[in-house]
């Protein structure tokens, strides 16, 4: 089958959606398909520019493809008679972020008109696609809420599951992923000062801004935690991250209301590591069940410290929970084989 994968891009910025698109192409090719990845530049600032971006996409043409798999706005507006939407993002600024008052679209007459045009373009696109799959229940809920549309749930698999293996169960809790205020690594550092055990914490990943990284460094210094909290702030190759995960005792991930299961928690489970999270972490709670596959704490340092101590002191229980987590994760069938079969069905 000849397949085009449609994604948009902000040049020189690479995030989860770009990783997903690359791996989707690779996996489709491994399943015997001929695949091209299209990367459409998207400039959303100033917001009025979105009109021409949408129009440009509507004017582009794809021919001689049996199937198009589209991931994001506005690339998914490019017409094709056999298009499947594997929806990573609509333009949220025109939907839930508008309602929340956090949109870049101004609350002016022009802004309202732009918002309406985006919604209309989406509606027109969605009614002409073969199927719509959302990567998370949150995405599905938005489609239902703003467009009245039902969709299938098709979660994103791990990109390189073979790299996340059950290693040696070391003496540290690992916290990976981007470092910023919404991922709340700072809460873990604050929790560490309240622990009574000798548990250790490793935080590694790129900071979204220098301030985000500096905050963690300051906290570690302020609380005298340098001997138990190791910070490795920066971009690390996946092999290095995989090694940290695979050889940890368990992992921790505390995002605010994450849409999806979260790569950090999926990678942990793949490596048979239980996950510590908090009760407002959104999609993570579909993966972490308290005292079964991990721990769900309240999002405050004292409660987190209690869990960190328990993870360290009841080591056998922590390891057993990690093995449960792996079993539970694998039973969900979220892998590329199933994903490709559903997308090309």
């Amino acid at each position: 089958m000849k397949i085009f994968v449609l994604n948009n891009m902000v040049p020189f910025v690479r995030g989860g959606a770009e990783e997903l698109a690359s791996h989707l192409v690779q996996q489709l090719q491994e399943h015997g398909h001929r695949v091209e990845l299209l990367k459409i530049p998207f400039k959303y600032d100033p917001p009025e520019h979105i009109y021409s971006e949408m129009l440009a996409c509507r004017m582009m043409r794809i021919e001689d493809a049996d199937l198009v798999i589209a991931l994001k706005f506005p690339a998914y507006l490019i017409p094709h008679p056999n298009k499947v939407l594997w929806l990573v993002h609509q333009y949220r600024q025109a939907y839930d972020m508008w309602d929340a008052g956090t949109s870049n679209i101004p609350s002016t007459q022009n802004g309202i008109e732009l918002k309406r045009c985006i919604a209309e373009a989406d509606t027109d696109c969605f009614k002409n696609v073969k199927r719509i799959c959302g990567i998370s229940p949150v995405i599905q809920d938005r489609l239902k809420r703003f467009h009245g549309l039902e969709s299938e749930l098709l979660r994103t698999p791990l990109n390189a599951p073979e790299e996340f293996v059950e290693g040696e169960y070391g003496d540290y809790i690992f916290c990976g992923g981007r470092i910023n205020q919404t991922k709340r690594q700072f809460l873990l550092v604050e929790a560490m000062r309240h622990t009574v055990s000798k548990c250790k914490l490793v935080i590694a990943g790129p900071a979204d801004s220098p301030t985000d990284g500096d905050l963690l460094k300051t906290l570690v210094q302020k609380y005298g935690l340098a001997d138990r909290v190791h910070l490795d702030i920066g971009f690390h190759p996946r092999e290095k991250i995989a090694s940290w995960v695979s050889n940890s005792l368990a992992c921790a991930y505390l995002p605010i209301d994450e849409d999806s299961l979260g790569y950090v928690s999926m990678e942990a489970n793949q490596a048979a590591k239980a996950v510590l999270t908090v009760d407002d972490s959104g999609g993570i709670l579909d993966l972490v069940f308290h005292n079964e596959t991990g721990w769900v704490s309240e999002p405050d340092p004292i409660h987190l410290a209690t869990q960190l101590d328990r993870m360290h002191e009841k080591r056998a229980e922590t390891i057993a929970m990690g093995k449960n987590a792996k079993e539970s994760w694998l039973s969900m069938g979220i892998n590329w084989q199933n994903t490709i079969e559903r997308l090309v069905a």
């Binding site: 000849k2 085009f4 891009m9 040049p11 020189f12 001929r34 091209e36 990845l37 299209l38 990367k39 459409i40 530049p41 400039k43 520019h49 021409s52 971006e53 129009l55 440009a56 996409c57 004017m59 582009m60 043409r61 794809i62 021919e63 001689d64 493809a65 490019i78």
Partner: protein, 174 residues
């Protein structure tokens, strides 16, 4: 230096130049690169609207340099653009008059003229033109009356020079 490479995909045909090879060379020379890939259909009905859509995309503020690797991407707008001439341009130049040329002669004459003009505009905006054979160099000189480099080591040029100092049209560029 941030260099954005742009190419179009024409229904699973091999691209004329291995864009990935150029990217790797640039990266080895210390440049930060990214690749933009746009769809392009050879269906005559949609040629003009597609060219317009390319023109509407805004990459003017992206990176230090844009390298357009094949004919339709030459019309992308960027203040520091390098156009790479490849065989795709031949359909607008010498194979036009051949019996097996891609575009019919009479019915499409006006469109060809516009395509030709669009290509000229894109090229004349560029700071540098590059091709990989003397044959293509001669062909492109016929088309745009400019001198282009031949057989250059494009990656080394891009990584080693500031390109903003010249415009392509009518000038000889190194």
């Amino acid at each position: 230096m941030k260099i954005l490479l742009a190419t179009s995909t024409k229904q699973f045909h091999h691209r004329e130049i291995e864009i990935e090879t150029l990217r790797d060379q640039l990266q080895a020379l210390g440049a930060l690169t990214d690749i933009l890939v746009l769809p392009f259909s050879m269906n005559k009905q949609h040629l003009l609207s597609q060219l317009s859509s390319y023109r509407m995309l805004d990459v003017r503020h992206v990176g230090d340099c844009l390298v357009s690797m094949s004919a339709p991407t030459h019309i992308l707008r960027h203040p520091n653009k390098v156009v790479v001439f490849s065989d795709s341009s031949t359909q607008l130049v010498d194979t036009w008059d051949e019996q097996d040329g891609y575009l019919d002669r009479q019915p499409m004459h006006a469109i060809r003229k516009l395509l030709y003009r669009a290509e000229q505009v894109g090229i004349q905006e560029a700071a540098l033109g590059v091709c990989f054979s003397n044959l293509t160099a001669r062909r492109m000189q016929t088309m745009v009356r400019c001198v282009v480099t031949d057989s250059v080591h494009l990656a080394a040029q891009l990584a080693g020079k500031h390109l903003k100092s010249s415009r392509l049209s009518g000038k000889k560029v190194a």
